[in-house]
């Protein structure tokens, strides 16, 4: 990648921003990972399915999407990990609870033994408020799905399989570690420190706040990009990803950005390939997003030629997501899906 002076200044600004987040420090060492962390497949299937609004029959769409994958949920305990961080009546911060409810019903319809909704909100400790205000309370009542607060779940020490943060281990929730299948359900959003927040960044929510503080402070301290990589490498539980791209967030995400309609759900088993596809939908080059590019070396696929796209064409739903100036260098050329 060649950088002109303007690009260089933008990259420098992004680097300065990354180092200057309270509690953050720059990644200094060359990243390393153990053999157990390597799970990059030969190729990855990613589905883009149209879903114009939350009024659509999302249960059917999710069901048909899951059937595009060799995913047997029969008799399994599935843990849905939405992105439920904060509530702003004017904002679109969280994975829409309607989609969460649809996923619960779809998985039950496919034979899942139990579907649990689990999240460790990164900003709010007051679950009673957050559930009611966000609408999740209604969905949990209607579906009867149990909810586990990952901020205060039973914990086990998990040795890290990669060395980006310099931490040896993390204490992680048993609900996640013991899942037969963990489904990351992020919102399609820009992120003011990481560039984008998707399936992999959503795993910040499994890190318990009662141990590491809010807003997941330790992860900011040791570096956001490094933490995303270490957490995702450490989670050896079977994974799937279902991205709420019906309405995303652009600009100053993940909290204070603006709504951006895209009208899709993005699904896949490889979180790197799913995130790379989502980034392209946002007109962002995934290879230039620090943690996605790095994850593409050992955790999953970033390269277009290794992603088998099914469902709708990416081009049809391509949107020009506004990003902060410090991340302008991540953008793809207008109306192009290259990268």
């Amino acid at each position: 990648m060649r950088l002109d002076r303007r690009d260089f200044l933008k990259v420098s600004a992004a680097a300065a921003a990354a180092v200057s987040v309270p509690g953050c420090r720059r990644d200094e060492d060359r990243p390393r990972w153990s053999a157990e962390a390597i799970r990059k497949p030969e190729s990855s299937r990613v589905a883009i399915l149209p879903a114009a609004s939350y009024e659509d029959d999302l249960r059917s769409i999710v069901t048909s999407g899951l059937r595009l994958f060799p995913l047997d949920v029969s008799g399994k305990r599935v843990v849905l990990k939405p992105n439920l961080v904060e509530f702003d009546p004017q904002g679109v911060i969280n994975t829409n609870p309607v989609l969460i409810g649809a996923a619960v019903e779809a998985l039950r319809g496919l034979g899942a033994r139990e579907v649990v909704v689990a999240e460790g909100p990164g900003h709010r400790r007051d679950n009673e408020y957050l559930h009611r205000a966000s609408g999740l309370e209604d969905v949990l009542r209607e579906t009867g799905a149990p909810y586990v607060d990952l901020n205060s779940d039973s914990l086990r020490r998990v040795e890290l399989l990669s060395e980006y943060t310099g931490l040896d281990a993390l204490y992680l929730p048993e609900t996640v570690l013991d899942a037969d299948l963990l489904i990351s359900m992020p919102k399609l959003k820009t992120h003011h420190w990481a560039g984008v927040t998707l399936s992999m960044k959503n795993m910040f929510g499994v890190v318990p706040g009662t141990v590491y503080g809010w807003p997941k402070n330790l992860l900011h301290w040791v570096g956001i990009n490094s933490s995303i990589l270490d957490i995702n490498a450490a989670l050896e539980v079977p994974r799937f990803n279902l991205v709420d791209g019906i309405v995303g967030m652009e600009g100053n995400g993940p909290i204070q950005g603006e709504a951006k309609h895209v009208g899709v759900l993005v699904l896949g088993a490889d979180p790197v390939a799913v995130d790379a596809t989502c980034a392209r939908l946002m007109s962002i080059d995934p290879a230039r997003v620090s943690y996605i590019g790095e994850a593409g070396i050992f955790l999953g696929n970033v390269e277009l030629e290794r992603i088998r796209q099914v469902g709708e064409d990416l081009e049809t739903y391509l949107q020009d997501f506004r990003v902060l100036e410090s991340f302008e260098s991540l953008k793809l050329a207008p109306r192009s899906s290259a990268g």
């Binding site: 300065a16 921003a17 180092v19 200057s20 309270p22 900003h123 009662t210 402070n217 330790l218």
Partner: protein
């Protein structure tokens, strides 16, 4: 007394809402006693393992009851905390997570009135005084001095409070708990060092005040955008600043908390609101009545700390988080 009995009481009275604070308080205390685990501690949620935060807050709530609850509930909780204390004086999150931890402040607070635990409390306080939130390196600070436009957040980097975990950044909630704990140990703990730490932490909290008053987790302005305050963090910040002469930032934060409580009726924040406002001499009787109604008519809070804070808030005879004024 349980929730069903409370409901019958309401029905017998034939009134829409007339549950007394006393009966709601009795119900919450009973709930705490029933959810105490066999090891003497409490968990954050009903089926989890005991942890220091839940145990300390529950103990604090039950300590106000005569005898600390039936069959030595408080005694067993103290014993759980005693066993868990680490050799450096700190308390860990739990026996699952043996890391020295911000929850030390709560353990100190819960044990401070126990003569038998004086030594443990003092060593916990000493550990707290050794902990300081960390900021950026001198090099980064120097860069910000020359390139202020690169600062992502606006705050005074020289002011430190307390972090969630040792050697990380200072945040409002752990700093507030540490302040409440250390101030509650006056006058026994009144060294120059402790006064200096308290003074700096108070200034740190003021420095982090949101534009509209109150506190987010620890920043007020990020990338040029003002952050909004949270009611629970704001109430805790105010409780920590209860003995500071009232100033414009405190008034603004009290006003912000009033606004937030109008929009959020969760048990946790309504309870914290009562605990904060009573320390600023506001009449909290209506808030307490509303909280009692909330407790009696809604499903019980899942989070133990919400139950414990509600029990503390409904006790009309006590100001459980009041700290002695500095001489």
């Amino acid at each position: 007394m349980n929730r069903q009995v409370l409901g019958q009481e309401k029905q017998a009275e034939g009134e829409e809402s007339n549950v007394s604070s006393l009966s709601a308080l009795a119900m919450l205390r009973l709930l705490l006693q029933e959810t105490q685990r066999a090891d003497g501690g409490w968990s954050a949620r009903p089926d989890g393992p005991s942890d220091t935060e839940s145990t300390a807050l529950s103990l604090l709530a039950l300590s106000l009851a005569n005898g600390g609850g039936p069959e030595g509930s408080a005694t067993r909780a103290r014993e759980w905390l005693r066993i868990l204390q680490r050799s450096d004086g700190s308390w860990p999150h739990s026996d699952q997570v043996p890391l020295s931890h911000w929850m030390t402040s709560l353990a100190v607070l819960a044990l401070r009135r126990s003569e038998e635990d004086r030594g443990r409390v003092e060593s916990g306080a000493r550990w707290l005084l050794q902990q300081e939130g960390r900021g950026h390196s001198w090099l980064t600070r120097l860069m910000f001095r020359f390139f202020p436009e690169r600062k992502p957040v606006e705050l005074d980097w020289d002011l430190t409070g307390w972090p969630w975990l040792p050697d990380t950044f200072s945040w409002v909630e752990p700093t507030s708990y540490a302040l409440i704990a250390l101030k509650s140990l006056r006058p026994e703990l009144s060294s120059r060092r402790s006064r200096a730490r308290i003074d700096e932490a108070e200034r740190m909290i003021f420095d982090r005040t949101c534009e509209e008053g109150g506190w987010n987790y620890g920043n007020s302005l990020v990338l040029g955008e003002h952050l909004w305050p949270y009611p629970d963090t704001t109430a805790l910040g105010l409780i920590a600043l209860q003995d500071v002469p009232r100033n414009e930032l405190i008034e603004r934060s009290l006003a912000a908390l009033r606004r937030m409580l109008d929009e959020n009726d969760s048990v946790l924040v309504q309870a914290l609101g009562v605990l904060a406002f009573q320390l600023f001499d506001e009449d909290v009787s209506d808030r307490r009545t509303a909280l009692a109604q909330r407790v009696a008519t809604a499903p019980p809070p899942v989070q133990t700390r919400a139950i414990a804070f509600a029990a503390l808030a409904l006790d009309e005879a006590a100001r459980p988080l009041e700290v002695p004024r500095e001489a």
